[in-house]
Symmetry: D2
């Protein structure tokens, strides 16, 4: 057997595949004569990233220890020692005085080992009726729950920022684009409130997912439950969960809560990327709709005149990693048999990366929304070009002349062509020109052709009329900020 | 300008880029002197796939026509003619008697054009106070809502199938695996119920998303709302929506409901792929746990002995397209400015493909669950090997000898090693062997070492004890099937 | 067993899961008493999409039949009958006179069954020393090879279109953007040639991948090779492959050639989406750099004035499905054991979808490049704003005053600030203003501040100086079009 | 304007969005009155990850400085000071004595600032005729080139490991699976060589991509080239590139080399995940084909008997992040206009993550291949079951009785059914049984029915006959290891 060529003589001076670490793992190595190969240790150890779970791990262990005592599985004295020990470890970690050790593989063993150092053999009783499988599932749910809550709050702050600017600009006219061509004028406030709706649905997704996640896997043990008389309701309540999960295999095997988190964020990232793209365009010289202050601009090392909207670009670009993290975990979980498989250790990094990056994105966006200086005149000028009032003309024909919309559309198109040929706007066409195409057109048609009138006329529910927008902003405050 | 080399002389005999279709588009071509290039038509036309929306499109148009009449925007006579015409078109399509025409680009224009053929100029009034932008948003929401409902039902049927088999096998012992290594015995019923939980959460996601989607975009018009006195509440109710959407720009610009559908399905596909993977393994000669009947097996063209679990493999493999469709639409929507952009025409095919494939997967899985013949003996035999009762021994040491779990773990590991060296199971070790490692071990240790006892002992809430499983199956019926 | 509830009495009138198709499969059903469940047939059948492989399937079968005769495994007479029969089937399919039958599952069986109808029992000899596993691997490689070749040609046509416009506009000045902020002026020809380079690398990837793919799996049989004295070199040559694949398991198990195709296209789609994005921006009123003719514009059903760059938007949006298809197949292939698994039937649709869509994208882009009318004045005007000549000033300071670049950068920044405060361009600053910041600045500084001079000065290899661009266009013709 | 609420009075005690960092950026802040918002700094700074490029950054700067001196753009003295300074910085970084500073944003500024501290104002001349845009493009290409080379070497080592085991087991019989059902016997050596072919194509992709990448962007400056008389051929050669890139805009804008790297790795990850999946199955009790030594097994904290193939599971699971990283960068690059956009800063982390993880995977796999102990008897036993010699019988009927294959298939299927009914293998059927189905079957049919004979008979090129495999292993050594 090829493997027998391995030798323990060598000490692993360099980190090279094939060399061997001397000591067998203190936690699970009982049956093992030899230590893991160095490459196994390197690919296997997770302490470099799962130390992020320290708070959740200790929180879960404290709840477990208390339950064990309550159920007389361990003594009150042992439980007290365990809890005190865990709290001192927590304090040390938060104070930056705790050294995580690679050799102890993961956060669970690092803490358990430290606990043993501090309180002695009672530490060995903490793992009664528990496995790393339900332990990590618990830690990770607690982490994702926190991430959901943080995102919900951050999105509310972003909505607040947007609503304030929308209120300020409920009557600032800009071109409404389709295909990046001016289509119909809208107000800037109306435009911003569209995003308030989107982020509102994002928050609603966050809240639904948070509720679905909020069941406790603790007590599922390795996969089958346990023969100890544990009280899962107790630990569930201690940890703020709504109830214990109903099936122990499911509890340790599934990660759909993490997938749902990643997908909720990915959809939110789509919304953010769209607003970011608009900010990049709007702040270009070509649009000139907004300008970021120095606080949200960066310069160039070679082109001193540049004011780059870096934060907006990064928000847009970070959609990449946020989608990628979702793909990562979907792929990893695909086709894994029950129950726990080591593949699932790969669940954490995409979630951690997404959690920190989505917070950066939402906070940067919140800052940019508050920061941007808006050029009402540039927006208004842009709204008036390109026959954006053509629909108003067509609607007038339908309303006043009882023309079928399709016919009105054709007549308007002809008038646009005539105006375009004369380099005029529609409202600059003479009545004679108008009547040459449709004799029934009357002088009062001009009353619907100004940009301001156009915007004002869109009074249908959800439409862009300034009065609507003013009310919609007030309404959004009630719906989302209280 | 290079484009001026185009000529309309040629008739497009072959489908080659650069040739030109003679007629300008009848719906929007008023201002256009020339027809689109043939390659533009080919890349642009969507009728080949969006004809799937015919029912929703007609449903939406009927509601719109009725509202227009109610609001006196069109006459009752016109509305009646429109509704009658649309119903006759619907009947023809469902009877397979309707020809969709490429030249009319999409489903909306195909139906509008047919309506004009049938009822004349009144057809032209249907598009009053509406745009293709809010029309397609409405159609698509109705389609996705149907897809959610179909999926919810299909998943319930799958749960029913699983619960029935779980109930049947509440006491059939199998190895519980971690890392595909037998870890602790569980019951097959318990294992199946784990999936009932997963599909239950999938259904919960479906229901939440369905609720979130259920707002009406109709009346948002192109993007800004309309000056016609429309009643959006009315059309919203007619179409079974909970309320009209609050912002017209949002209504025509966002597709998060489709993204949420695709992500809900992707997560469900993870669950399906896991069960499918297990079925493939279980039906291999090596496991021999289950056998599919002829109804769910296929043969080989070269190897007549083969009984291949094709359906399970396809369910597993189709996770690929289901993830891919999600990535498709996330990518397409990334960084699009408001409001409608043509890119968004790419929203439909991934959703259609996902809708039909997830239904295939869930239905095939439902069939397989019902079909599989279970070999209780093969499962039981496999559960007894590989020291799957080691935890029971360790737990006995903790419980009876008050040993810290970590110490119990070490002692058990030593005993496993001794047994393994003698090619014996743990229960075959003599008491003397046991006591050589830990002198306090007593004879009654053997009472926890049988597989059946092990399973029975896991009585903690959510654990695999047969009584638990029996109750859990009954409970699942109440939670999910009523 | 639940499956025993199945009954063959029912005829499957409706397509519902659970009902049963009466006849067992004619090709592999020998050992099977019952027909597959209807849902199995529906999820399993591939003829609805794999009929696209008809040409490749017949091509492969003809080569195989000739080889079998050459090797005396079948008679010359049988081979001749087989070849004639296959050719008649090919002719019928291409003439649209062939009916594909669902019941025969896939393209291989449809053709083999038709062959039997036409030439009788000799047809049964065609499958000697072959399996569907190596057959479909061969068909699929031939298909992907064709797709590579088609893409290479299409990209060459696109390069040709780009080079022609680059040559035409070698001296048309436009702003070079970074962060969508004007950075330094470049020529439009230079900008277009950047894409010629990108598409050149795309073609280079196509060609490398095509070479790597071009080995014949035919003769690998099911997975192990065969005991018949076949000549794999012969069939390899007949089919235009460079050599037979060296390992039979690899030949039937891997699909990396398809993954490589999908990833090569995905990268190409990135390039296309970037040019498409620019076209959408450039054709907006805000930029006004280009205008599409009627041949590449579409209108709006509600806004008659619109000229929408739909084709560009679709090219941009289709990047979604092209990425998604790659993710699909990567996911499907993940963690499949050797050799053939039914999951792999999912390999074809993403490839077919990618093949038709990338061709649409490249051809549409080729058409748009040729079609776009370029406004040199709009570009030139935009190039002059926003201090895009600041680097030229800094470079002058370095070159003429021997200033470290960092110091020159700071001085330039100060001058930009002064100019900006006075609403002037840099060249409009007085020499006194300049010298107030750096006394050594001389009058000849103005000679580098015009946009035209700036562009001309960038003579470094690969730089944007018009003479460079002219040569680069000529060079590109040689490198890519001959 | 909301942004005007900002104040510089506050010092940023806590890291909260909205607070402001006091000093403007020393490199590009000349024109800026205020410092960036703290959230902008946090989202913008890249030094936490791009410090990985320190070696490449210094390498590029040295080449650039030498070129500047050679071209008389800076003095020899300045160049010498710069080179010496850079080398001392390199030495300090490698010795762990260099502190990277957040405030200096990125690796380029950290090094340039340190250089200024060490050599004074000459440092300011290094950035002449260069921009961060071509600098980072150069650094990143050098990094990816190194990553390609490392991967090529690691894959060669893996092939070496596989070939050695294949050679050892050229005649060890195992079942060849399709659909995880035993199909035909193969040798274990043949199976391993299938992977040697796959990794061979992976290496070929690496080499092609490496060649394509190997052009120098240095000298493209910001985007347009430069007016300084630089020598791009010189720096290209210094840095080991084949030639300078032909277009400056392309040089700073594209990242297809990184996308290609990520996609080459993703395909390789598919191959690795397949072998990993097989290892997990093979090492299960159900298969029992292989066993990992202690060096490549891990234990359980609760189940002391477990020997988990963690490394194989992690290699399988890491396909997730490797696919995800590809999706990340594809998404980020989608639809970005030329030239540099800040989104592109997101290009590095996915590449860095992929680079370290693919190396872990390949090295762990190399170790496992060498380590695994192979149970020839378990494999042989598994090969003999399940009528895996049915094809041999069918082929005998074709060869000896000149039967069309399809007929032979049907007869074999009948015989399998009879044998299966009697719980016998095919070779245990009596001649009478055989002849009851096909009277012409002769006694010598038994000579092809043993597993060993079956394997030996597959002598076609690329087939599994042991002699073939022996030769194939030798051949692979020549093709891949020399």
């Amino acid at each position: 057997m090829a493997g027998s060529k391995r030798t323990t003589k060598k000490t692993p001076v360099t980190k090279k595949s094939g060399t061997v670490n001397p000591p067998a793992n203190p936690m699970w190595g009982g049956q093992f004569a030899h230590a893991p190969a160095e490459i196994l240790s390197r690919i296997n150890n997770s302490i470099c990233f799962d130390q992020k779970l320290y708070r959740q791990d200790i929180q879960g262990s404290i709840a477990h220890a208390r339950m064990l005592a309550k159920q007389k599985i361990i003594t009150d004295g042992d439980a007290k020692a365990i809890v005190t020990g865990l709290k001192s470890i927590l304090a040390d970690i938060e104070a930056g005085k705790f050294t995580f050790r690679e050799a102890l593989e993961d956060i669970h063993m690092n803490i358990e080992s430290a606990l043993k150092d501090r309180i002695g053999s009672a530490a060995g009783r903490l793992h009664t009726a528990r496995s790393r499988n339900d332990q990590v599932a618990t830690d990770f749910r607690l982490y994702v729950r926190d991430a959901f809550d943080a995102l919900d709050n951050a999105l509310m702050a972003l909505q607040k920022s947007l609503i304030a600017r929308a209120d300020e600009h409920y009557n600032s006219i800009m071109p409404g684009f389709t295909h990046l061509q001016a289509a119909q004028p809208v107000t800037f406030g109306h435009h911003l409130l569209a995003y308030v709706e989107m982020f509102g649905r994002d928050r609603s997704r966050v809240q639904d997912a948070r509720k679905r996640l909020n069941e406790s896997p603790l007590g599922a043990a390795a996969l089958a439950g346990t023969s100890f008389p544990i009280d899962r309701e107790f630990t569930s309540k201690e940890l703020g969960f709504d109830r214990p999960m109903a099936n122990s295999l499911d509890a340790v095997s599934d990660r759909d809560f993490a997938l749902e988190y990643l997908s909720v964020v990915a959809i939110c990232a789509v919304h953010l990327s769209r607003l970011a793209e608009e900010m990049v365009s709007w702040s270009s010289a070509q649009f000139g709709f907004i300008r970021f202050s120095d606080a949200f601009s960066t310069g160039s090392s070679i082109m001193p005149q540049k004011r780059n909207p870096d934060a907006a670009e990064l928000v847009r670009g970070k959609s990449g990693r946020l989608f990628g993290n979702l793909v990562s975990l979907l792929t990893t979980m695909k086709a894994l048999p029950l129950a726990y498989n080591k593949d699932m250790q790969e669940d954490k990094e995409p979630v951690f990366d997404t959690a920190s990056n989505i917070m950066l994105c939402v906070q940067a966006m919140t800052g940019m929304v508050a920061d941007m200086a808006v050029s009402k005149s540039a927006m208004l000028n842009a709204a008036g070009v390109a026959y954006a009032n053509a629909t108003d003309l067509a609607d007038w024909l339908v309303r006043e002349l009882k023309m079928p919309f399709r016919d009105a559309h054709h007549i308007t198109a002809k008038l646009v062509k005539i105006a375009s040929g004369k380099s005029k706007s529609l409202e600059q066409l003479s009545l004679a020109d108008m009547q040459s195409v449709e004799s029934r057109i009357r002088k009062d048609v001009y009353s619907v052709l100004s940009v301001a009138d156009s915007v004002k006329s869109r009074k249908s529910y959800g439409g862009t009329a300034p009065d609507n927008v003013k009310k919609a902003a007030a309404n959004a405050k009630k719906r989302f900020l209280s």
